[in-house]
């Protein structure tokens, strides 16, 4: 098992490497680039732009820029005597701009050590800003996943045990219909109805004291009782529904297919033959086994809900990672875009590995070697 996990993790390295190269190349293709973005002012002289470019290392060859972004530059040019002027270097020249004075030592640690650089737009470390938004995305993603599981799995079970019946047909049509509707449109319509016309729910945003705060140990009790919880849940209802709606359709169809495979097994007939009630046979014997394959789906679904929430977050002004990424793309904030993409990709890869492990834990018949 440990060996399998290790092997999967090692296999993920070339993929991750490919992702970083791909994303870096794409971003470096964009003309203008960071220097233009940083010096966006009418009275910036070309000399100033050149200085910013040299400071950011934009004159170096592309592979070196990539290495600096990936691994940092504190090992490329460093200071040995403490005067904050580099006096030893590797790969990079000591005096990059040729003015006779050595450059300052490298300070970046590279994304491999969690240093995603600073946002051009907010002038703050990207990793810090991502940290602030992860909680919101997790809160929305997990509540949508819970919603999808609670609704989708029972629908799948009932559709399977009454295969071909009215319920099965209605839910099948509903699943196809749900998936053909653009979810941002549904979001807009729901805001229109519940936010604007009826005024029952907020039209967007996230409460100041989000629900997630009540889940941490030693949560302040006065913040977590009924009226406050309700106030915060209000903000969650519409986004959860919009994000989870598509997932309900997916889970219910998946559960139905899985349940149909289980339903003809011998142990189901045995359970029935020994006189168990339908409910006991379906839920006790059937659903428990049918839910095993759902584990393979769980990892990708979690990451899908996290990274796929960009649209939902944008409609509901939910301050999460997806919306952050979309805003960064429109404002050409490259460090942020790359960080969000890398975080998404890493979580996708980890999600797949996680679901395989989960699968093995739940179903002892699965052996990895």
């Amino acid at each position: 098992m440990v060996k399998y996990v290790l092997r999967r993790l090692i296999q993920a390295i070339p993929t991750l490497f490919g992702i970083t190269v791909l994303v870096y190349l794409l971003m470096s293709l964009a003309p203008g680039g960071p220097a233009k973005a940083l010096t966006f002012s009418a009275n910036t002289t070309p000399q100033q732009v050149a200085r910013v470019e040299a400071a950011l290392g934009l004159n170096d060859p592309l592979p070196i820029q990539y290495l600096r972004w990936l691994l940092g530059d504190d090992w490329m040019r460093w200071d040995t005597d403490g005067d904050n002027i580099a006096d030893a270097s590797f790969i990079l020249p000591l005096d990059a701009d040729g003015d006779g004075v050595n450059e300052a030592p490298g300070t970046r640690q590279g994304i491999i050590r969690g240093d995603f650089g600073r946002s051009f737009f907010y002038r703050r470390p990207v990793s810090e800003m991502i940290g602030e938004r992860v909680a919101a995305t997790l809160e929305l993603g997990l509540s949508a996943l819970t919603f999808a599981l609670l609704i989708g799995v029972p629908i799948g079970i009932f559709a399977a045990v009454r295969k071909g019946g009215a319920f099965d047909n209605v839910t099948r049509v509903a699943a196809v219909v749900t998936n053909a509707i653009p979810n941002f449109w549904i979001g807009l319509i729901l805001i229109l109805i519940f936010g604007s016309a009826l005024g029952w729910l907020p039209m967007g945003g996230r409460a100041d004291n989000p629900v997630a705060q009540c889940l941490v140990p030693n949560a302040p009790a006065d913040l977590c009782h009924y009226p406050y919880i309700y106030e915060r849940l209000e903000y969650l209802i519409l986004p959860t529904f919009v994000l989870g709606m598509g997932a309900v359709a997916v889970w219910s169809r998946f559960m139905r297919a899985s349940m149909l495979e289980v339903i003809n097994q011998d142990y189901m007939r045995t359970a029935k033959a020994k006189g168990l009630s339908n409910r006991n046979v379906w839920f006790g014997h059937g659903a428990r086994n049918a839910m095993i394959p759902l584990a393979t789906f769980l990892g990708p679904a979690i990451t899908g809900l996290l990274s796929g929430a960009a649209i939902t977050e944008t409609i509901f002004s939910w301050p999460g990672l997806g919306r952050f990424g979309v805003q960064a793309v429109t404002s050409q904030d490259y460090p942020v875009v790359m960080a969000v993409v890398i975080v998404g990709a890493v979580s996708t890869i980890l999600g797949f590995i996680l679901s395989d492990i989960l699968y093995a834990i739940i179903d002892p018949r699965i052996r990895f070697d």
């Binding site: 971003m27 509707i181 653009p182 169809r253 793309v329």
Partner: protein, 360 residues
């Protein structure tokens, strides 16, 4: 026995030659299509929507409306107003005219991007499936890499790069390129899997025996046998691409106003919730109907797939995976459509798959 058959033939007064008339696969496919009313209806609605969109100049001329003429005195006319059947928008532009012109753009993007991604996907799928080895490994690595990146962000980056490269708002061409070059991974996987099994067939062996080149075997002998997979993929791709285009335009990275597309019409109408509900409802409905119908048509396929319908299921599952990544979901019933396996050329009338329903 023979005399009995002859007697029946004589009795019915039918020439034996006509009794044993055989049908080509295409004829059988068309025959099945004729009896599948749901698919026919879906197909005809798609054709009507597409035709109306591409005939937009004609339609607007006949109605005497324009998608660009602003009328400050006629803003937010509700649907059903004289001349403006679908009402007008915030600038007094005719909503129907804009919907039709938007359909032109949205459908053009979806059709072209689907064709592009299909071409890449099928070619790579056949090549990797046929050759295997290092080529297969490399393409698989590329697919694994591409599918690990959240697709929406990949699209956003590519469209923002393309936008800044051309120093102009993203045109439909840049969007087509971006969508086409990202969307091929699912198709490649499916085609590769199918090619792997086709590679072992006798006709491939006999083609090789008479000295056909690899390219000839791949694209003359194997490609026609992949047509069912290709049709399903194409239909579902078109449906999902309409959704993706809408989502991109909604996020402000698709087609830029004043050029209308269904997505950016939806996006723009957000602001006018209270004044013009129809501005939100109509573009959404059009997207929904078009996607639904394409998906519906994807379920119809002319030739039989693997006997148990697993290919269809795999295709849909793969497609579903791709779509889930961008937060747009699409899942269809895993049940193969009616008659999937009933028209087996060699066992007419035999129904060998568990889930298929044969018309009696």
């Amino acid at each position: 026995m023979a005399t009995h058959a002859q007697a029946v033939v004589t009795k019915l007064d039918v020439q034996p030659k006509e009794v044993h008339v055989s049908r080509s696969l295409t004829q059988m496919a068309l025959r099945r299509l004729r009896h599948d009313y749901l698919t026919l209806i879906a197909l005809s609605i798609i054709i009507v929507i597409t035709a109306l969109s591409f005939a937009a100049p004609l339609v607007t001329n006949v109605l005497g409306v324009s998608p660009t003429r602003t009328q400050t005195d006629k803003t937010f006319l509700p649907p059903g107003s004289p001349v403006h059947i679908f009402g007008t928008d915030d600038l007094g532009r005719d909503h129907l005219a804009r919907l039709l012109y938007a359909g032109q753009i949205s459908l053009k993007i979806a059709f072209s991007a689907a064709a592009l991604s299909l071409t890449i996907g099928v070619a790579l799928g056949i090549i990797t499936g046929y050759y295997g080895g290092v080529i297969d490994d490399m393409i698989n690595w590329l697919i694994a890499t591409l599918t690990s990146v959240p697709i929406l962000f990949l699209l956003l980056i590519i469209s923002s790069v393309l936008r800044s490269l051309s120093d102009a708002p993203p045109s439909d061409v840049t969007l087509i390129i971006a969508l086409g070059f990202i969307g091929w991974t699912g198709t490649t996987r499916i085609v590769r899997g199918e090619t792997l099994s086709l590679r072992e067939r006798e006709y491939v062996l006999s083609a090789r025996a008479v000295g056909a080149s690899s390219w000839r075997i791949m694209f003359v002998h194997m490609l026609p046998n992949l047509i069912s997979v290709i049709i399903i993929t194409l239909a579902i791709d078109i449906g999902s691409l309409i959704l993706v285009e809408a989502a991109l335009s909604f996020l402000g990275l698709g087609v830029m106003p004043p050029t209308p597309s269904w997505g950016n019409m939806l996006s723009n109408s957000q602001t006018f919730f209270n004044k013009g509900v129809w501005l939100v409802i109509f573009p959404g409905l059009l997207i929904f109907i078009t996607v639904l119908l394409h998906v519906r048509d994807g379920r119809w396929h002319p030739r039989r797939l693997r006997s148990d319908g697993t290919q269809l299921r795999e295709t849909l599952r793969e497609k579903g995976k791709g779509l889930r990544k961008i937060g747009l979901h699409l899942v269809l019933s895993p049940r193969p459509p009616i008659g999937t396996d009933c028209a087996d050329r060699f066992h007419p009338g035999a129904c060998r798959c568990a889930g298929c329903l044969c018309p009696s």
